[in-house]
C-alpha cells in the first residue's frame, strides 16, 4: 500500500492555466506538507497543515492555494501558471509537528509549464 500518494505524477500545461495536485496519506498522520524542488534539485517547503489548519506558509505567491479537506488530504491549487512554476512538487506527512518527526514523502509531481 502506498503511504503518501500524489496525483498526477506528471502534469504538462500551458501558461495561464489553473491546475491542481492532489495528495493523500494513509498513515494516520496529522501533519502534511508541500515542498517544491526546482530544476537544480533544491528543495524548499511551501506549506504545512496540522489537523487541517495552516501552520506554515512560506513566501509563496498567492497563486498557490493549499486546501486540506481532512487530515488525510492536502491538495495544491495553482492559478495562472507561469513558466517559473515548472518544478517537482512533493507532498509529505508526519505524525505531529515536532522537529524530530520523520516526514514521509510522496513520489512527487513533475509540473511542466509551456
Amino acid at each position: 500500500d502506498t503511504a503518501v500518494s500524489q496525483t498526477p505524477k506528471y502534469l504538462v500545461t500551458q501558461m495561464g492555466n489553473d491546475k491542481s495536485i492532489k495528495c493523500e496519506q494513509n498513515l494516520g498522520h496529522d501533519t502534511m506538507y508541500w515542498y517544491k524542488q526546482d530544476s537544480k534539485k533544491f528543495l524548499k517547503i511551501m506549506f504545512s497543515y496540522n489537523n487541517k489548519e495552516l501552520i506554515i506558509n512560506e513566501t509563496v505567491p498567492n497563486r498557490f492555494s493549499p486546501k486540506s479537506p481532512d487530515k488525510a488530504h492536502l491538495n495544491l491549487h495553482i492559478n495562472s501558471l507561469e513558466l517559473g512554476d515548472s518544478a517537482v512538487y512533493f507532498c509529505a506527512s508526519s505524525q505531529g509537528r515536532t522537529a524530530n518527526n520523520e516526514q514521509f514523502f510522496g513520489p512527487g509531481t513533475r509540473l511542466t509549464v509551456l
Binding site: 501533519t31 515542498y35 533544491f42 524548499k44 501552520i55 515536532t98 522537529a99 516526514q103 512527487g108
Partner: protein
C-alpha cells in the same frame, strides 16, 4: 535564518568501499535535529538517518553513520560497504523546535550531493 550547505555537488565510490558526504549548517539554536534523506532516480525521498543535537553519540543505521560535530556545525554521512542501490542524491536537512518546544516540522535542505556507486 538557518542554512544548510553541502559543498560536494557530486561524489563517486567503488562498490564495497566507504564514502563520506559533507554537510555544514548555520544556526543560533542550541537544540535541533539533523537528517540525511536519500533521493534515488525514482525521485522518492527516503529518510536515511537522523541525529538529535543534544545527543553526543553519533547516530548509526546499519551501513550508514554520521559524524556530528556540534561546535563545528558539521554533520557528515558515512556510507560503508557501498552498494549499487546507494546511488542517489543525498540531502542533508535541518529542523528545530520553536520557543514553545514544538516545531512546525519545517525541514531546511542543503543543495544535495549526487552519489554514484560504480561496480
Amino acid at each position: 535564518a538557518q542554512t544548510v550547505t553541502q559543498s560536494q555537488p557530486e561524489m563517486s565510490v567503488q562498490e564495497a568501499e566507504t564514502v563520506t558526504l559533507s554537510c555544514t549548517y548555520d544556526t543560533s539554536e542550541n537544540n535541533y535535529y539533523l537528517f540525511w534523506y536519500k533521493q534515488p532516480p525514482s525521485r522518492q525521498m527516503i529518510l536515511v538517518i537522523r541525529q538529535e543535537a543534544y545527543k553526543q553519540q553519533n547516530a548509526t543505521e546499519n551501513r550508514f553513520s554520521v559524524n556530528f560535530q556540534k561546535a563545528a556545525k558539521s554533520f557528515s554521512l558515512k556510507i560503508s560497504d557501498s552498494q549499487l542501490g546507494d546511488t542517489a542524491m543525498y540531502f542533508c536537512a535541518f529542523s528545530h523546535p520553536n520557543a514553545g518546544g514544538t516545531s512546525y516540522g519545517k525541514l531546511t535542505f542543503g543543495q544535495g550531493t549526487i552519489l554514484t556507486v560504480h561496480p
